[in-house]
């Protein structure tokens, strides 16, 4: 579904991604592990088209998309749950969800919104509340719900557990597992490597802008480099 080949990207003259290659097949959950500043978020931003690419290819369902504007990539079926939620803070929960379906030009979103509320009942109670006034966990749920409203083929999840209390982290990972069971393709960026690899089919480790290890989740869990660097074994 997604194939990235020899991708380079940077901020000004500082290169943040060096020769990154990675692929995600339909129905897979792929984890991308790495420390702060390793380039995880930059890679997701490049896939979504909000970060310029200097060279290399991004293919989505066999179409080259690395020069395509961000809004057209959403139309193709790539949705991102960005780091730090990035909600439309002054707009209501319901409006945030409606805007998530912006590219679908659907006239009636009632059923879709009901589907999101079924997944996150607490959001239903707060449907008229401004998104900026939600708690961190609720904001994360809304960010996930907003991305799902576009009926994406691929979801890019950036650090969904960041800054949340442990009980909420479990809840968010349950949702990711639930999405996986429904067949949703996900590229999951996480610092919580153990939780991410428990859900993922495969994983990659990114270090200072380079993919250093890649393989099945079970293989990665057993890999001594992953164990010492990211699992604290």
């Amino acid at each position: 579904m997604l194939r990235i080949e020899n991708l380079h990207s940077g901020y000004g003259r500082i290169e943040a991604l060096h020769d990154v290659s990675l692929d995600v097949s339909a129905g897979e959950v792929v984890a991308l592990l790495g420390a702060n500043g390793a380039g995880k978020t930059t890679l997701l931003r490049a896939i979504s088209g909000v970060q310029p690419v200097t060279s290399g290819q991004i293919r989505f369902e066999d179409r080259r998309i690395e020069r395509m504007p961000a809004h057209r990539r959403v139309l193709l079926g790539i949705a991102q749950v960005p780091e730090g939620r990035q909600l439309f803070a002054p707009l209501s929960v319901e409006d945030n969800l409606k805007l998530g379906a912006w590219t679908r030009r659907a006239s009636d979103l009632t059923a879709d919104i009901a589907g999101i509320f079924a997944m996150f009942p607490i959001l239903s109670e707060m449907r008229h509340t401004a998104a900026g006034a939600l708690s961190g966990g609720q904001q994360q749920m809304l960010a996930i719900g907003r991305a799902l409203m576009s009926k994406p083929k691929l979801v890019l999840l950036d650090e969904p557990s960041m800054g949340l209390a442990p009980i909420l982290v479990d809840q968010i990972f349950n949702i990711v597992a639930q999405l996986k069971r429904s067949g949703q393709t996900i590229l999951l960026v996480e610092q919580n490597a153990r939780a991410a690899l428990a859900i993922a089919d495969r994983g990659y480790v990114i270090e200072t802008g380079r993919i250093t290890v890649g393989g099945d989740a079970a293989t990665l869990l057993a890999d001594p480099r992953v164990q010492s660097g990211y699992l604290g074994v």
């Binding site: 909600l87 912006w102 900026g132 576009s150």
Partner: protein, 290 residues
């Protein structure tokens, strides 16, 4: 009492125009973080284009409509050819660009039209209406009603349509807007177009009272900016409130102190806001939890 009423009415009339200019500032500022000092030029264009099309033999409604369309196109061109190419530049650079655009538009208007003052026929004649001892021009009521209609329409558009919400979303978080698939060039461009149209309509409505000329834009932009700051920059309700308040303050100080002070009021207001309440009367409430 009659005197006070008289001053209040002329203040509210001018204030409605300031309010519309301030609303234009707010729309563009929210969508793109640009303080558009060419905002007053839209008011000038609306009035002058109508005057010259009317002189060319077109009926007033057609001339007015074409003037709004022309100003809207100028607003779009300002975004497309001056602001968009400079995206990512810092605030001061962007302000410089809009000041440059303002000087350019003023110069162009001086060449295309002329340097004289022009008026338009008032919509309902110029026999003043007597009210509580004060004389009110019918056109004053037209200006106030026009401003009210624009504010209500704008509110309905933003609150009731998904495109309006996409414009709000772009203003709230541009990165997120791009990530949900909103073409932000479209929504920001739209904000420039709407601001220009609002400015032009204000210009057409007020020309029968205040007259228009190629150079009225500069002072209007500064006063609209003062109004936006007074109301709290970024707040649409604040912009309208700030505009009306500034108009009243001007009219009252011109009436009770001296008309020489009239234009100074806006600048005193800017200073007072900066010293006393930098976020303005209705400065953007921070409801964001991080």
């Amino acid at each position: 009492m009659a005197e006070l009423l008289q001053f209040a009415f002329s203040g509210l009339t001018v204030g409605a125009v300031y309010a519309l200019v301030a609303l234009g500032f707010t729309l563009i500022y929210n969508a793109s973080d640009v303080i558009n000092f060419a905002q007053g030029e839209f008011v000038m264009l609306g009035g002058l284009v109508t005057v010259f099309l009317l002189a060319a033999g077109l009926p007033l409604p057609v001339a007015a409509l074409l003037a709004v369309v022309a100003s809207t196109l100028v607003g779009l061109a300002l975004y497309r050819f001056a602001i968009e190419p400079a995206r990512g530049a810092n605030a001061v650079t962007l302000i410089m660009i809009t000041i440059g655009a303002s000087i350019f538009l003023r110069g162009a208007a001086q060449v295309i039209f002329d340097k004289r003052y022009h008026s338009l026929p008032p919509l309902f004649g110029d026999t003043p209406i007597r009210f509580g001892g004060a004389a009110i021009l019918p056109q004053s009521l037209v200006v106030l009603a026009g401003a009210l209609v624009i504010v209500v329409l704008l509110w309905a558009f933003v609150d009731r349509t998904l495109f309006g919400k996409a414009v709000l979303a772009t203003a709230a978080n541009k990165l997120a807007a791009r990530l949900v698939g909103i073409d932000t060039r479209l929504t920001v461009g739209f904000s420039f177009a709407i601001s220009a149209a609002i400015g032009a309509i204000a210009g057409i409505l007020v020309t029968p009272i205040t007259l228009t000329s190629y150079n009225i834009g500069t002072l209007l932009a500064l006063k609209g900016f003062a109004a936006a700051m007074l109301g709290g920059i970024g707040s649409a309700v604040g912009a309208v409130l700030g505009g009306l308040l500034l108009g009243l303050l001007e009219a009252l100080s011109a009436g009770y102190l001296s008309s020489e002070f009239k234009d100074a009021v806006a600048f005193i207001v800017i200073l007072a806001v900066l010293f006393v309440r930098p976020q303005g009367l209705l400065g953007r409430a921070r409801v964001e939890r991080v």
